[in-house]
Subunit: 125 residues, 2 copies
Amino acid sequence: MTLVDASLSISEAAERTGLSTHTLRYYEREGLMLGGVGRASSTHRRYVDADITWVEFLTKLRSTAMPISRIREYVALVRQGDSTTPARLELLLRHRETVVAQLDEMTRSLAAIDYKISTYRKGSK
Amino acid sequence: MTLVDASLSISEAAERTGLSTHTLRYYEREGLMLGGVGRASSTHRRYVDADITWVEFLTKLRSTAMPISRIREYVALVRQGDSTTPARLELLLRHRETVVAQLDEMTRSLAAIDYKISTYRKGSK
DNA sequence: CTAGAACTTAGAGCGCACTCTAAGTCAAAT
DNA sequence: ATTTGACTTAGAGTGCGCTCTAAGTTCTAG
């Protein structure tokens, strides 16, 4: 970059998001980017703010175990425009339930692990 | 079973634990069972209470994303006897940290998802 | 103008945790 | 005694989400 520019190269975007460049390309190939990442003055990708913001949200969906295929469905809805906001809301609400269930299960498991830890600490076998 | 017996067949154990018979055999092959599952009056497996209790704890470790390889290490320590309780405690404490981190990340992600849900509800884009 | 680094694509490869298959053995009920 | 269904093993196959490779192109610095 010669001039100050709001957009980032793929390696800069990787650094910003904590993903690898491989993963960023993979996500794009899989149709997970909202509008297609721009190509500037060449074939090279340029990530603008909206791209980064979306990748960050996408990362939240992944970290709560939303499958790639479900994210693709969500993206397809976004692309179809404002009329799909009820469907998007529904999709997120359904996902929310799975996240709550995961948190609940993990919390219960943590309790069991803590109990086991306490038995080791007390030396009671 | 003709007589009342405290032990279970593999399919009964599967039903009790919520795992498949395939998975129970897989775990055994991978060295994740504490003492080797007994074989009664034939080559058929018989799961006693201690086996079921262990499988249930093992399931907690798995549901908190402990890798099979780490569980195998833990099992190896248990097999070595009481002298390894400090090492087991250490292993569980380390794992505990990863669980807390997972819970934290998932909770943060849930907050982001909830925020997005709220924007859809307010219709503000 | 040139060298080297960073980028491009298409597609192959990998690690994990199962999950299933095939071919055969065993046991409970008739 | 026979049938039916559950069980056995070893090993192959699957699905997911990356992760890497190869061969070629483009940008930047000197």
